[in-house]
């Protein structure tokens, strides 16, 4: 029983980490209809920059963190100025391919600037097992994962307030709803896109930092984007709660499957299980859990 709870808990925690990456996708997809494949590499790039600044200059981490946010805002501006502005009204698949190109560029720039060796991101995040849970309930929980869950909760709360209560948030929702109508009431699409990509960059930085603290900053970090994709289709491309719930479902499902199904088929199924789960789910609900209902007209 304790083992089951432990499995589910660690699945939930892993799910939170996936959700953090998926959040960035959702933000950009909502505001611009772009399926941003570069989100995973943005996590890597942000974490690399963060670790690189601390390593090269020896600044304390809060300053480095703020500097990295600055870099991500610059990236967002550059993406809008040099790429998206020229591709307004293109087909979604073209925009999708552009973001893959962007992923290559960010990867190349990150490697050239900071080198491709594994970096340790040590900013004093808690690590190891939580003594409290271990003593009182005899359940093993990583402190870092609990911390990540807290951060994710704060982040989602912050985003919810940002989207619902602020002026910019309202403008963002207007753009997500209808580009043309938003334009005609005087919302600048270009500014909105820079803001959205900056926010996505910030989310990427948080996700990258947490993943980096967990497993070191290295190239494989960009592959977590592939982990976030099933989360995304499960939750729906356009829903922030979907990204969270989807992440939790995928995280728990993956862990349970690895333990209870894995041994029967030879193990190492975590690479594809999430996809199969999401695929089976999509057959029932093609728009994902919280996605907008797809209305088709001739």
């Amino acid at each position: 029983m304790e083992f089951l709870i432990e499995t589910i808990l660690s699945g939930l925690m892993a799910g939170v980490m996936y959700s953090l990456v998926a959040l960035g996708f959702v933000l950009i997809f909502k505001a611009s209809g772009i399926f941003n494949f570069a989100q995973g590499v943005m996590c890597l790039f942000a974490a690399l920059t963060f670790a690189g600044i601390m390593e090269k200059t020896g600044l304390p981490w809060p300053i480095a963190f703020v500097m990295t946010i600055g870099v991500m805002v610059f990236v967002a501006w550059a993406v809008e100025r040099f790429v998206l502005r020229h591709l307004v009204n293109q087909e979604p698949i073209i925009l999708f391919m552009v973001t893959i190109g962007l992923a290559y560029v960010l990867e190349g720039v990150g490697d050239i600037l900071w080198g491709s060796d594994v970096k340790v991101l040590d900013i004093g995040l808690p690590s190891g097992a939580s003594d409290y849970m271990l003593d009182n309930f005899n359940i093993y929980v990583e402190k870092l994962e609990v911390f990540a869950a807290l951060i994710a909760a704060v982040l989602v709360g912050f985003l919810a307030i940002f989207f619902q209560k602020t002026r910019i948030g309202r403008a963002l929702r207007a753009v997500a709803d209808d580009h043309q109508a938003a334009l005609s009431v005087g919302i600048s699409l270009q500014t909105i896109w820079v803001i959205v990509w900056s926010v996505a960059g910030f989310v990427a930085l948080v996700a990258g930092t947490l993943w980096g603290a967990k497993s070191g900053v290295q190239f494989s970090l960009s592959l977590i984007a592939l982990k976030a994709l099933p989360v995304l289709i499960l939750g729906g491309f356009t829903s922030i709660p979907g990204a969270i719930v989807g992440g939790l479902i995928i995280g728990v499902g993956e862990k349970l499957a690895e333990i209870y199904v894995g041994p029967f088929v030879g193990g190492a199924i975590e690479n594809w299980f999430a996809y199969m789960l999401a695929l089976a789910f999509l057959l029932v609900r093609p728009q994902g859990l919280f996605g907008e209902r797809i209305i088709e007209r001739v």
Partner: protein, 358 residues
């Protein structure tokens, strides 16, 4: 001046419906084919076949297959690597189980097996659309690679988990294995590519291709005018997988000789082939080849230029190469989202007017 259709009267439906209605096009294509078949084989050496020609032909075939699915039928697929792996492993099992089998039949059968697997993974496309489908096809990619890694039967329980092509002949010439001659490999791939490019061109001009395009342009409207989505989508998946499976089979048996599934048929291949299709031009046969040529030749050129020309360190050059590839892809998509095929078309339009455009 030279490129005009003026004066070329069509007197039969046959000539009116020809693939290349303009005579100059026909001459150029015939000259090109003749050059590729009759001249190139005498000059190829190991370096040229292995570094340039074989990848060009094989990825051209794969891009052609994916273009049928993405460009003509509008179903985005990211499972290309997995399907190529099916082709490779199918041909490995066929080659080792039936040593007497002709290589042409091996390749065709591998394509057929991949087509069956492809239509199976195409089933979700009836319900899932757009990017949801793209992500769903990733399930095929990861699942297939996992299957070929996990179950020893597929690689005949070899210790390394690799598959290695045994020596096989085609019409008395050694085609696979380390001592095969370059020109045999080249001609084999070229013949397959030429034949199947012709078949593809005729498929997409015919009823099936029109159905695909109807589904691509608007599936509901197509359904209303009587195109059956089930058959059309699945046939696109089957035909596309057939081509991709053949490409995978050739990549393994003729080009590489030994394959480790995770490295050769990983997700990167899926993206690479999709890039070829998009940079070449969605919904264009010649575009598939242009895209394949662009993405096969560009890295070679960049690498040679940076390592030998500028004296960069190979690791640094690798990073710069990734960066430049990304920049070029973005640049191309911005300048011409419809791909190289569209540029080619524009060039031809201009050429018809040249030198007196008004």
């Amino acid at each position: 001046m030279l490129y005009r259709e003026a004066g070329q009267y069509k007197t039969s439906y046959q000539s009116d419906q020809a693939i290349f209605p303009i005579a100059q096009d026909r001459w150029v294509v015939w000259a090109f084919v003749a050059f590729a078949f009759l001249v190139v084989p005498f000059f190829v050496n190991d370096y040229w076949t292995n570094a340039v020609l074989l990848p060009l032909l094989i990825y051209g075939l794969a891009a052609l297959g994916l273009n049928i699915l993405v460009g003509y039928c509008g179903q985005i697929s990211l499972g290309t690597g997995g399907f190529m792996a099916v082709g490779a492993y199918a041909s490995y099992k066929l080659m080792t189980s039936f040593p007497e089998m002709n290589m042409i039949i091996v390749v065709l059968l591998s394509g057929g097996i991949t087509a069956a697997v492809g239509s199976l993974f195409g089933l979700p496309s009836l319900r899932i659309k757009g990017f949801y489908l793209a992500v769903a096809t990733l399930a095929a990619q990861f699942f297939l690679v996992w299957v070929f890694n996990k179950f020893g039967w597929f690689y005949n329980y070899s210790m390394t988990g690799q598959i290695t092509a045994p020596d096989r002949e085609v019409f008395g010439f050694l085609l696979t294995g380390p001592s095969a001659l370059p020109w045999v490999k080249y001609l084999f791939c070229l013949t397959l590519l030429a034949v199947f490019a012709l078949i593809a061109k005729n498929l997409v001009r015919g009823r099936l291709g029109r159905n695909w395009m109807a589904i691509r342009d608007m599936d509901i409207a197509a359904e209303l005018i009587g195109v059956r989505p089930l058959l059309t989508k699945l046939s696109a998946f089957a035909v596309s997988s057939f081509y991709i499976g053949m490409a995978g089979s050739l990549l393994f048996s003729v080009y590489l000789g030994a394959v480790e599934v995770g490295e050769v048929f990983g997700i990167n291949v899926s993206f690479l082939v999709l890039f070829m299709v998009i940079i070449g031009g969605l919904g264009s046969i010649v575009g598939s080849f242009l895209g394949a040529a662009f993405l096969v030749l560009l890295p070679i050129f960049l690498k040679n230029f940076m390592v030998d020309g500028l004296g960069m360190l190979p690791t640094m050059a690798k990073h710069v190469e990734i960066l430049l590839m990304g920049l070029l892809i973005i640049f191309f998509l911005i300048v011409e989202p419809h791909g190289l095929a569209r540029l080619w078309q524009i060039t031809k339009e201009k050429l018809r007017m040249w030198p007196f455009p008004y």
